[in-house]
């Protein structure tokens, strides 16, 4: 981050309403109003599997390395660009400019966030949106080479930068409760 600014004036988008999970009553599923919050568990045995929204919540608030905005605000990530399978997740992200030198860093921050917050059973693939970056393949290849990711995470300077981006990652989740 040697002072070079790749996109001094990015487009900022309004935050989407966060994954609005409705209570059983609001959806009409239950007859009676439950006074509890929207997330209260009515049925303990019910399994709520990890879905698009949940993963989006994990990464939406990661800070852009270049601006005081979240990846969501810059539309770098969006729920639609997340694909969740049984044990497999594919995240697509969109750099704000095709020559963005931060793309690898952004991708890495997403990977680390998921590394820390998703069950190990999930295999994660991270790609830039096709056609959104001039060196798309290079970035993708690097982001999905576990050996290089591992090495990167042993580089203190880089990790420091990553932690800065990740500081904000938890925030929205906290606003939640």
């Amino acid at each position: 981050m040697n002072g070079e600014i790749f996109n001094p004036n990015p487009t900022v988008f309004a935050l989407s309403k966060r994954s609005g999970r409705k209570s059983k009553f609001e959806t009409g599923r239950s007859l009676w109003i439950d006074n509890e919050g929207p997330l209260e568990q009515t049925d303990d045995s019910e399994v709520e599997s990890i879905d698009q929204d949940e993963i989006f919540d994990l990464i939406r608030s990661i800070a852009d390395p270049e601006h005081p905005n979240s990846l969501e605000e810059l539309r770098v990530v969006s729920a639609e660009q997340i694909d969740v399978g049984q044990n497999h997740v594919t995240i697509e992200f969109t750099p704000t400019v095709p020559h963005c030198g931060m793309s690898t860093l952004i991708g890495l921050s997403i990977r680390v966030r998921l590394l820390r917050s998703l069950p190990q059973r999930f295999k994660v693939d991270i790609k830039v949106k096709p056609g959104s970056h001039q060196s798309e393949l290079a970035v993708n290849k690097q982001l999905n080479d576990k050996e290089r990711v591992a090495a990167a995470l042993e580089n203190p300077a880089l990790v420091e930068t990553l932690e800065k981006c990740l500081e904000t990652a938890g925030m929205q989740s906290e606003l939640y409760d």
């Binding site: 190990q120 295999k123 290849k141 080479d145 090495a151 042993e154």
Partner: protein, 352 residues
Amino acid sequence: MDVDLPYELQLVTDLRGHEERAWQIAWNPVEPLLASCSADKSVRLYNYQPSNESLKFSHIHSIPTGHTKTVRSLAWSPSGKTLATGSFDSNVGIWEREGGHDGDEEAADWECMTLLEGHETECKSVAYSSSGTLLASCSRDKTVWVWEVHPDSDFECMGVLMEHTQDVKCVAWHPSEEILASASYDDTIKLYIDDPSEDWFCFSTLTGHKSTVWALAWSPKGSYLASSSDDLTIKIWKRVAEHKWECALELKGHERSIYSISWGKGKTGEESLGWLASTGGDGKINVWDIREPPESSTGRVLSHKLIATLSSAHDVSDVNSISWCPREGFEDLLATAGDDGSVRVWKVVPSH
């Protein structure tokens, strides 16, 4: 999923102890020793002894190594006396046993004889030549280094090969000749020999893989070279002339990057080229029996048969390394290392 294959993989032991991802295992070619290395910067040594029809593995020693970053790679010298470690801290460590001889391992202590510095970035793989006189290492700095091994662990750099345009992932020596192969992030494989007059040089580049080539394995007799890649294929290259290699076969059977392959003698007799084992990000182990086509048949293609397979070999984790035991009588013994930090040993047994 087990479609009835002739063999199956039987778990001999599950060796836990690494605090982080285990990257590679290496069987000592001479003694009953298995070594593993890990992101926790340590090397663990296990000894194994027959105990009623099975084998008993016991952890006998841990080397803290002192590498400042992940220990990525391991290699035993043919003599089995020396162990080389390649680390993300860009150095190669040379280890030998001090005191406590073959008899009592526990007494043994492993000391760093020398530290080979030269690579600019992470060292990703190390390998000893069949004669044990040469050591090769490779790194993200795109270079392959060839070292000559002198007495009293003195090493001399014979050449720095800057052929690859990217990160070099793996180096492997021919089982008998002094031919070195390297595989890279640039999707190619390169073959090198020592020109007596000149220096080490690349005499051939094998292209065809569509993504990073992760691993290499020579056939036991050396007439074939197998390579595994992020493109989810394994290619087998046939030596068609002294210095000419051609792709003779492509194997598919993994859903994610194939991080490691190993080619052992196997136990299916002389007419077989041996058993090729592969594993990777899908956590699956495949074992193929590879055979030359009968002279009669017109097809020059190698015949191959998947003889055993196992999914989730390390539960949900990636498997990073697979290796056949090179010792006489243990041809059916296979070891793997996984992201779960565990090392597992498998026996290939006829299925019933």
